[in-house]
Subunit: 206 residues, 4 copies
DNA sequence: AATGAATGAGGCTTCATTCAT
DNA sequence: TATGAATGAAGCCTCATTCAT
């Protein structure tokens, strides 16, 4: 039976995870030592191990956290009735998030996790899970719009969802490599592209 | 006078780099030890250091190599007269490459390098350089097509190039995380999207 | 707040330095591996690095320690009123120290440091500093005795101090190379030489 | 049967030994790698091993060479009839040699060999042998002068020889640590000291 | 005789994790 | 619960020496 409250345990975990995010985003997963996380969290080596089994578990926990944020962004975006507005919101949310420094930090961490997933089955599973749900949400929204006659029908809704996500991920990369990358400009062009793509009339010609 | 030919030296370097690609792609940059590369290359520890200054230099050399392949794919694709065909080729080349197992291996390595770039200035510079040229090639091709009246003109050619690259990178990620990802399907939808985007007639309505 | 006392930290440092002295004296600075020091100190590899930055720092610390002992020997020797007695004490202290096994070990280490100083600027600085103070103490004592009329005056007190130190160092070498070297005999002759050198009456003839 | 002349072999050995002297004097015995000697000698790795069994043998050969020079200096010095002149010559030769840059290089090497002798039995034997002969020459000269009534007799000639050598060695050290050390000044004082020491009249008072 | 690429044991150091307090 | 000193396996790299040419 724990002597401290669950709230305390939660705060400690948060403290550790935040320190890890900071370090991982800055130096990468492998280049960050437990020592770094210990220092950043202002806790002791032993304390970390009271709350996490080890470095890998911290990484996994962070990988797991990532997709809450993604899902949230997408759900907020898709909460609109009209598809065009809906998608506009989605892109807008995404855009705003990329300009936010705290978010940028997490995006950098996200990229490290993308690479980690390639050789860490647990992280891979979490990344996949974090990808599946957004893709489902998007493709369902697209399919619904198609069913309602709001979008051209000759498009594979899943492939379309993949494309949107790919564009998101691709922009995250370009932005991470060069923070002068003009997101506004990218987003405007992306919206134009998706508009022309999804609109019924152009569908007639596809 | 050198005891062995320059060709021999080149082969040795290749041998080491290929071993490194194999290891890095499988286990990531940091999880791969020099011991791994030594074993995979079937050379001795000392021999590696006759050809490279250390692990970092091997990573940098591989990061440098990456963009030759990218440029090659894009140049081959853009070598067509007609923009639509040209872009079709580009996408086709890219698609074929992703189905190639050897290429898949390098794409995995590429993702590790993307993450490495975030905390390794030398790799970042190489990644950027490898990104700049393809973007230039693409945006120039787009601008030329616009000037010739083959494409709608209300699109920022650089942003459009960024979007195409982002889609490429995003697909690489999805494919790396799940090799059942249907590239054919993705590519067909992407072509439809870009066609509708760039085509003059839809431009009139955009 | 530190978990262990400062005394504990000091003891650990001492433990490591003593192990290093043992190894360095026996096998030389470069031939002694960290592995050797680790084994001799009965600590673990990691523990050493909690107390010293590396092998070089251990060497530097030992070079720094040396001159405390030298200064101590000289100050004890010069604490007498009468120059002749004073110098006699000095030589006696020195002589006794050379017969002490623990001191012999440190003298061997000292010789290794003399060589190290030739290609290690930090050690050189420490050796010089360790040499300057004894020379100053000696030359001042000599100069004072000259001013008081107790010693002939036509001698450069600094050169005289250098000579005394040179004799000391030279004897340390001969003793290190052959522990059958008769120190008693050497010291007696050295005292006779310095007596005849410094004494007023002989000064009249010099 | 060798294909090249003995002279050629001798030259090659000299070439290697000179390169080794250069490197050892500059960086010490252990910090000098065979690679360094190879580069300095402008020969190949394999060539070195045609002429020496390995690094240790080069060191030993150099330790062996040292005492020829010492003996030469002493014999030249002692070749005089008159003891005082004789000793003056000895000191003078020694002094001149210390101002010679080439000699300084060898003196630095010598110091490294002094340390090496402490943990290398072969070098120790050579150093001892190189020390024994000069000491014998000196003590014999002193004893002869004593027998002839030219020097006071109440001095152990061996101890006196040891003292002279100790002073030499000690000056070599001080000069190696600080090349601004005034040798002229030291030598003058040393001559004064030995004069007053050895002279008959002062002997009456000793 | 000469070359220099290759070997592989061994050196220094880091770091995830544990455990006595 | 909390601490942080301690552990020791494992990482990167060097270097004396060998051997095919």
């Amino acid at each position: 039976m724990p002597k401290v409250s669950e709230a305390h345990r939660h705060n400690r975990r948060r403290q550790i995870l935040d320190a890890a995010i900071e370090c991982f985003a800055r130096h990468g997963l492998q280049r960050t030592s437990m020592e770094d996380i210990i220092r950043e969290s202002r806790l002791s080596a032993g304390a970390i191990y009271l709350y996490f089994q080890g470095k890998d578990q911290i990484i996994e926990r962070l990988a797991d956290e990532r997709h809450y944020r993604e899902k949230q962004l997408i759900q907020q975006g898709l909460a609109q009735q009209d598809w065009t507005k809906s998608f506009g919101h989605l892109v807008r949310n995404f855009y705003v998030s990329l300009e936010n420094p705290a978010e940028q930090k997490e995006r950098r961490l996200g990229i490290h996790l993308w690479a980690e997933a390639l050789c860490n089955p647990k992280v891979l599973r979490l990344i996949r899970r974090g990808l599946d749900q957004p893709r489902e949400l998007l493709s369902q929204a697209i399919a619904e719009a198609q069913a309602d006659g709001r979008l051209r029908k000759d498009i594979d809704s899943i492939a379309a969802a993949r494309i949107l996500i790919a564009m998101f991920h691709g922009l995250i990369l370009q932005r991470a490599w060069d923070d002068r990358t003009d997101i506004e400009c990218f987003v405007k062009a992306a919206q134009a592209m998706t508009d022309s793509y999804f609109s019924i009339s152009s569908g007639g010609r596809g």
